[in-house]
Amino acid sequence: MEEIAFFFGALFALGGAIAVVAVKNPFYSVLALVVHLVFLAGLFLLLMAQFLAAALIVVYAGAVMVLYVFVAAYVGGIEEPKWDASPELRVIGPILAVALFIAISIAVLGSGLAALGTPGPEDVPSGFGTPEAVGLLMMEDFLIAFEAASLLLLIAAVAAIVLAGRRREDRKSATDDRKSATDDRKKLVKADEEINAAAAGKGEGAR
């Protein structure tokens, strides 16, 4: 049963990952990443990380992907032709990546860790992977890392506002545009009234 769940999750997680790379439109890449994340969360459950599986779904598939969808829609779907890498990287990139995969596999499988061939110990502490256990660890053993993470989030939020916010000159030109637009509208209304008045005058003259 566990094997079926693993291979099912692994198949879709890997398929989603390949789709992210292979699909032309960035919008579909984002959707493929959502599929990948959902099945990755399933794999996290197999590893007894219930809290992190839930966090992955809520934070990633929920919040971060919405941000991606917004930006992908904002900059527009720039379709690039398939396999249109820069000429230096088109061949050497995949070769490097596959070499890295082989190196990792040799390193892991050749490490001689006996525990790698087992599904992990059966006698894990009770509540392993629940929010309680992770929270306790975080507040007791890893408090500094937790505080550093919160500081990092704050800095990233400020950085995003600085990077993506409108510059002062942008804003000025925007208000200028708006002012000239209002002026134009006023002129139009005035011209309209003049025409109406002339038509009314003509009508009175005819009568």
Binding site: L33, L52, Y74, P119, G120, F128, A160, A164
Partner: protein, 99 residues
């Protein structure tokens, strides 16, 4: 399920992400592929955490999620800034830091 399967899957996901970072040219897709690589790292951390029956790896994964969120925010901010300045959204043409 043996732990080594998870590690091999994690290596595969990392490889796919790396290929994406190397061959794609759209910065949005490159950010997505970086996410793939971070997720592969998180999967490996969780697998080792399960192997040792120790929760430390899970806290590590939570920190990885935080760092990934920060990276997304800054990266997407950069992409929006590039778009506003009408620069080409193509990493091959953005070779200089000064835009």
């Amino acid at each position: 399920m043996n732990i080594e399967w998870f590690i091999v899957l994690s290596a595969l996901l990392f490889t796919v992400g790396l290929i994406g970072v190397l061959v794609r040219r759209n910065p949005v897709v490159i950010l997505l592929c970086l996410e793939l690589m971070l997720n592969a790292g998180a999967l490996a951390l969780l697998a080792f955490s399960r192997m040792l029956g120790n929760g430390d790896g899970q806290v590590f994964v939570l920190i990885v999620l935080v760092v990934a969120a920060c990276e997304v925010v800054v990266g997407l901010g950069l992409i929006v800034a590039m778009y506003r300045r009408r620069l080409p959204l193509d990493v091959d043409e953005m070779k200089e830091l000064k835009g």
